[in-house]
């Protein structure tokens, strides 16, 4: 007899998904002007979850008008501590409805319930709590004596952390007195629409948060709308560059959180068992759909074989399958398009001579799946060492000296995250100084906190989100 874990599925009874959703404008769900809709599906089963209204430019305009009116008449006049109260209220409601958010996120996104339950949703609520506290203390945020909001902010968020990215965007915008038009990702709109219900439940004044669903054209209409004061975007570097071009010369400001190809550097004196855990969470957390993933493993050559052996043993234990099962570690790939992209870049690894390894694992027949995969024998010249795969695929490279590790880590157009694994404190500090990355984790990986600024160097983005630095992006300082 063996100790096989029986299925432990989280019940979906707690969520109540409507057959179709309208746009959330001026505090109400309204029909889009056109009749066009799109489906959002469960990527683990390919079943349609709901039909979503498609916002075209005129709908976006309506949302911006509502946001402007709410800004001018209500939100900018409200006492800061009152704004804070709304944020506290939203945070508490998110906690109360945490299970509902977690199940819905897992269904719409494909990520395991263990992650939505233990990470996405608690962190999203934490962002609202953190920023609620800032609402009446903005003079101390470091943006000058007279910090003021921009006005109406257009926010575009990705599909990898739908609710968490919403929180990263909406919480600081509201705390600083801006109003918001938010566009969730096309494949994952449902938790944003549930958040709209939370705004209603919290009695948030109409128009302070507006949510428009759609695709790239909807996002483009938002970016190009003349009455938007600031754009906050998280997504691919390609789209980010397009946004930067579109707003050049318009006076709109922007924060951009873009791609990454994070280096996870393992020195030969690292605490090896925890290093293996960190590598696993660095690349397989959220199916590797993480812009700051540790997707390039740089291992000191003298411990390479031992580390890879331990890593393979650990990866063999990853439980791939039903995202709603409480024991699942690796869920579904978010979409057919993303799966195709992962397959395409990974196959270049085979073609360019890297060695592919995946554990034996049976993938479900329906839905979009990719096994946890590592490539050894990768060099900097391989595509899989340069391009962001955004999937559960790890590229393993080696180095001989600390300087070589740093040089290779920095040898990328990106600069979002890096990890350093060593028991030597002085080496951590030395490496952190040399690494050109916005976030550097020492002896851990993929840890997030609302008080900690997050953002990138180079093609990984502009500006910071979270912490005091993140607040500054939503404030104008200086004289009135």
């Amino acid at each position: 007899m063996t100790f096989e874990y029986s299925p432990a599925p989280e019940s979906t009874a707690i969520v109540d998904i409507s057959a179709q959703y309208g746009l959330f404008i001026n505090g109400k769900f309204v029909a889009a002007k056109g009749s066009k809709t799109f489906n959002t599906i469960n990527p683990a089963t390919e079943k349609v979850l709901s039909k979503i209204a498609y916002a075209q430019a005129s709908d976006v305009d309506k949302a911006v008008v509502a946001a402007r009116s709410a800004y001018t008449k209500v939100w900018s006049k409200m006492a800061p501590q009152e704004r804070g109260k709304y944020l506290f209220r939203i945070a508490r409601i998110m906690q109360e409805r945490a299970r509902e958010f977690a199940v819905l996120e897992t269904m719409d996104n494909g990520k395991p319930i263990r992650e939505t339950r233990d990470i996405d949703v608690p962190l999203a609520a934490a962002h609202f709590f953190y920023h609620a506290g800032w609402a009446d203390k903005l003079k101390y945020a470091g943006a000058g004596d007279n910090p003021r909001p921009h006005g109406v902010v257009g926010q575009i968020i990705p599909w990898n952390f739908p609710l968490l990215m919403l929180a990263w965007k909406v919480a600081p915008a509201l705390a600083t007195g801006n109003t918001v038009v938010l566009k969730p990702a096309e494949t994952t709109p449902l938790t944003a629409l549930l958040f709209a219900e939370v705004c209603q439940q919290a009695g948030l004044p109409a128009g302070v948060v507006n949510i428009v669903t759609g695709d790239g054209a909807t996002g483009s209409a938002l970016v190009n709308h003349p009455d938007i004061d600031k754009i906050a975007f998280t997504g691919s570097t390609g789209v980010g560059k397009g946004i930067a071009r579109a707003i050049a010369g318009t006076g709109k400001s922007a924060t951009l959180e873009l791609g990454g190809k994070g280096a996870n550097i393992v020195f030969d004196d690292s605490p090896i068992d925890q290093t293996v855990e960190g590598i696993v969470s660095g690349i397989f957390f959220n199916q590797g759909h993480v812009c700051c993933a540790g997707s390039r493993l740089l291992v000191q050559e003298n411990v390479h074989d031992e580390l890879i052996e331990k890593l393979k043993r650990r990866i063999s234990q990853i439980r791939v399958g039903d995202p709603l099962d409480k024991n699942t570690d690796l869920g579904a790939i978010n979409s057919a398009a993303q799966l195709a992209r992962i397959k395409e870049i990974s196959s270049s690894g085979d073609a360019e001579g890297a060695h592919r390894w995946s554990p034996e694992c049976t993938l479900p027949e329906k839905g979009f799946w990719y096994p946890p995969t590592i490539f050894t024998g990768v060099t900097q010249a391989n595509r899989i060492a340069q391009e962001e795969i955004f999937g559960p695929v790890l590229s393993v490279l080696t180095f001989r000296t600390p300087q070589e590790a740093i040089d290779k880590a920095n040898n990328t157009p990106y600069g979002l995250s890096a990890g350093v694994w060593t028991e030597k404190g002085s080496r951590i500090l030395w490496a952190a100084k040399q690494l050109k990355a916005g976030v550097i984790w020492a002896n851990t990986f993929n840890k997030f906190d609302p008080a900690s600024p997050f953002g990138g160097y180079k093609e990984s983005g502009w500006g910071r989100e979270g912490g005091r630095h993140g607040l500054a992006a939503y404030l104008k300082g200086g004289e009135k």
């Binding site: 100790f3 029986s6 432990a8 233990d118 605490p271 068992d273 925890q274 028991e423 002896n443």
Partner: protein, 312 residues
Amino acid sequence: MQLVEGTDSSIRRFLKQLPGVDQVGAESRAAMLGTRSIKTASKKWAIDCAISMIDLTTLEGSDTDGKVKALCTKAVHPDPTDPTVPSVGAICVYNDKVATARKHLDAIGGQSIPVAAVSTAFPSGRASLEVKKQDTLDALNSGATEIDMVIDRGAFLSGDLVKVFTEIVYIKELCGDRAHLKVILETGELVTLDNVRKASHLAMAAGADFIKTSTGKISPAATAPVVLVMLEAVRDWYEMTGIRIGVKPAGGIRTTKDAIKQLVLVRETAGEEWLTPKLFRIGASALLNDLLMQRMKLRNGNYAGPNYVTLD
């Protein structure tokens, strides 16, 4: 396989090449494994597995022959109303109660249940080597087939690793083929996870058949991160030597949930091969009744009160 000679330099060299343990990382791994959800058939299996791994223990100054006999009866048939409940892994007592336990077990059909004796001036280990040897011999001569010795934590912390090592070697020699040796590290006094890993390897190199977390007299005892690190140690030892050493968490494991978490740790750290009473034991007393109550719940669909399990 002789990995270490009993000299100071040899022991130090051996322990120095062990990788460090990052406490934050080990704690978070242990916590993550604590979220595993064990339901239905797997829960049923885990409950019986845990019962069969219990070293049913009484280590009180107030222990009497009557108390020990009652415990032995419970060990053979934990639930008198249900013969499908497995017997426990062993009975664990002080050395002067070993004969009583052995005799009673033999008399009631518990011949296959070993009697373990705590030894070497348990729990503190503060006695001369001669006293520790005599303590062990008494237990062996009374019929103990498992010896739970304590290491000298004072010697370990002061750096006298030779003393810790040679004491284990001596006690192992006495045990010979007559008894299994479990070495208690008392991790609550070693405090750091680096120390836990070092002491685990030291004990295995000196001849331990099992490494055990705690005496049960010191808190904290068998915490999840400590058990995790010890399981990693036996896994690594197996890779080095091809020999599987057992692990025994003891102290603070009181509920079915606690016990199942331990089994999850075993499965996902050392591996399924360790899920046998030959390689994993749980030192406990109150735990057994909670396992029995959960077992009844699975069978009958409702929770019975504490008066439906026996109090011994």
